[in-house]
């Protein structure tokens, strides 16, 4: 770091010459704090976490830039999972179900 700062993850000081990740408008974080941080998507069917840490697509899913709602392993493996997904959308986003409005 060229200037000192405060890590947005652990709230500890980052000193000059220490390694840190900085982004305009977001702030700075320790390198180790950034690697610990894993964004967790939400399962639209059960409402729980999607289990990104154990997801088979962990390395290929850019969780920061994808659509926020996913499905967890359990829900995706269940029978008629796509129908369950559609029902969950109908339930959670009633506005989209125009015929029923």
């Amino acid at each position: 770091m060229k200037f000192p700062g405060t890590c947005i993850v652990c709230n500890q000081k980052i000193e000059i010459n220490e390694m840190g990740l900085w982004a305009k408008g977001i702030g700075v974080k320790h390198e180790k704090c950034a690697s610990k941080e894993v964004k967790e998507l939400k399962c639209i069917i059960c409402g729980g976490p999607a289990g990104c840490q154990k997801c088979e697509f962990f390395d290929d899913c850019d969780r920061e830039s994808v659509s926020e709602l996913c499905v967890c392993k359990k829900c995706s493996d269940s029978k008629d999972s796509f129908i369950a997904y559609q029902n969950a959308v109908k339930k959670n986003f009633a506005l989209l179900n125009l015929k029923t409005n």
Binding site: C55, S65, V66, S67, S76, Y85, V89, L98
Partner: protein, 386 residues
């Protein structure tokens, strides 16, 4: 039929992913009244921006008037197309305007259209939906200010997988786990790409489906097109190859003219290429980019099973290219020498004099002395005179 068309959702609720964005969009449309800000759908290709606009028009019973970047490049064009719609709504039913790829207008392609569009966006009398792949450019900043941006994002891979399984089930098809995962990863959240790749894989077109067609080299794509086992496969390759249309036509042209084809086939194919070229010429002349949709349909007629066509970058055979390169240099130097002797320009020598000079030398009607380095080329050229 392309799966991406066949499985296009029928209702907004049937779409996959981007639930929050869809909700914001529907909310905007439900609350829409005269003067409300138009909406700007921003997101990468293949995630349903156009579908969302089309379905909204259908479900809210609007008459969708679709325009694309070409229609809004030109101020006069905008006024001609949009003013009647904005002026007297009742005569024209219930219009809704959809302008696709607004970020496609930039630099010299913009003939005052963006400014005229922004003016309209500030006082809308009908719902206006704009779509863009990105909202980063300076021109988009102004459009963004005048609209309500809604960001659509790529789908998470597992959700894509769920949708793919549903489509495969409906098609009565199966894919191995390895191929499924590869297709999901390579589609990068793009539903259209996902379905194109899956269809290509299921129909037995193996080698190139391992890659996204968007990243496929032009040479691999041309080879895949002519190696396709059916017209449908060729169509999948062609439709997914999104490169500059000029480049596309040139690649087909150079590959065809340098392949060993029978005269009859060659004539037929050149006829098709010239049709595609005329269409592109018309597009460039009139800036009617909506006509571009017909280009692939024309090029698809080039496909016939087992045609011995392979990609070639050069539109002349290698021996001829070689001769142009090396002999051309010597002929040019010879031309410069003769130009001095005959007191004319080099181009006049090359265009008009040289064939006659060679003819006269051949018939021993003219005697000229040349330095030995030109003897070989003169004899070669004389040999070519019939």
């Amino acid at each position: 039929m392309m799966w991406s068309e066949k499985h296009r959702p029928k209702k907004i609720i049937d779409m996959v992913g981007n639930e929050e964005a869809r909700k914001s969009f529907v909310d905007w449309l439900v609350k829409w009244k005269k003067g409300a800000k138009p909406v700007l759908l921003v997101g990468p290709p293949g995630i349903g921006k156009t579908t969302l606009a089309q379905l909204a028009a259908k479900e809210f019973e609007y008459d969708l008037i679709g325009l694309n970047a070409s229609d809004v490049r030109n101020k006069a064009n905008i006024e001609e197309v949009l003013t009647p719609l904005l002026g007297n709504v009742t005569l024209l039913g219930k219009p809704m305007i959809f302008v696709d790829e607004v970020d496609g207008i930039h630099g010299r392609a913009d003939f005052g259209g963006v400014e005229a569009l922004i003016k309209i966006l500030k006082e809308p009398t009908v719902p206006i939906i704009l779509a863009a792949n990105s909202a980063q450019s300076d021109k988009m900043k102004n459009i963004k200010k005048a609209t309500k941006p809604i960001f659509l994002k790529p789908l998470p891979p597992r959700l894509l997988g769920l949708y793919l399984q549903k489509v495969l089930k409906e098609e009565g098809a199966t894919l191995g786990p390895g191929a499924t995962i590869k297709i999901i990863i390579e589609s990068r959240g793009d539903i259209r790409s996902l379905l194109n790749m899956a269809q290509a894989h299921v129909t037995g077109f193996d080698p190139q489906t391992e890659k996204s067609f968007k990243t496929l080299n032009i040479d691999a794509a041309i080879n895949a097109f002519f190696k396709a086992k059916s017209k449908e496969e060729a169509q999948v390759v062609l439709y997914s190859l999104r490169i500059d249309p000029r480049e596309k036509i040139n690649a087909f042209y150079s590959s065809i003219v340098s392949s060993n084809l029978q005269s009859k086939d060659l004539a037929k194919m050149l006829d098709i290429i010239s049709e595609a070229d005329m269409l592109y010429g018309k597009i460039m002349r009139t800036q009617e980019w909506r006509l571009l949709r017909y280009l692939d349909n024309i090029l698809l007629r080039l496909y016939e099973e087992n045609l011995p066509v392979q990609f070639s970058q050069y539109n002349l055979s290698w021996p001829l290219l070689n001769r142009l390169r090396w002999d051309g240099r010597t002929i040019k130097a010879l031309g410069a020498l003769l130009a001095k002797k005959f007191h004319v320009s080099q181009s006049t020598i090359a265009t008009f004099y040289l064939p006659y000079i060679l003819f006269c030398i051949k018939n021993k009607k003219l005697e000229m002395e040349f330095s030995p380095e030109y003897n070989e080329i003169i004899q070669k050229e004389i040999g070519l005179i019939k």
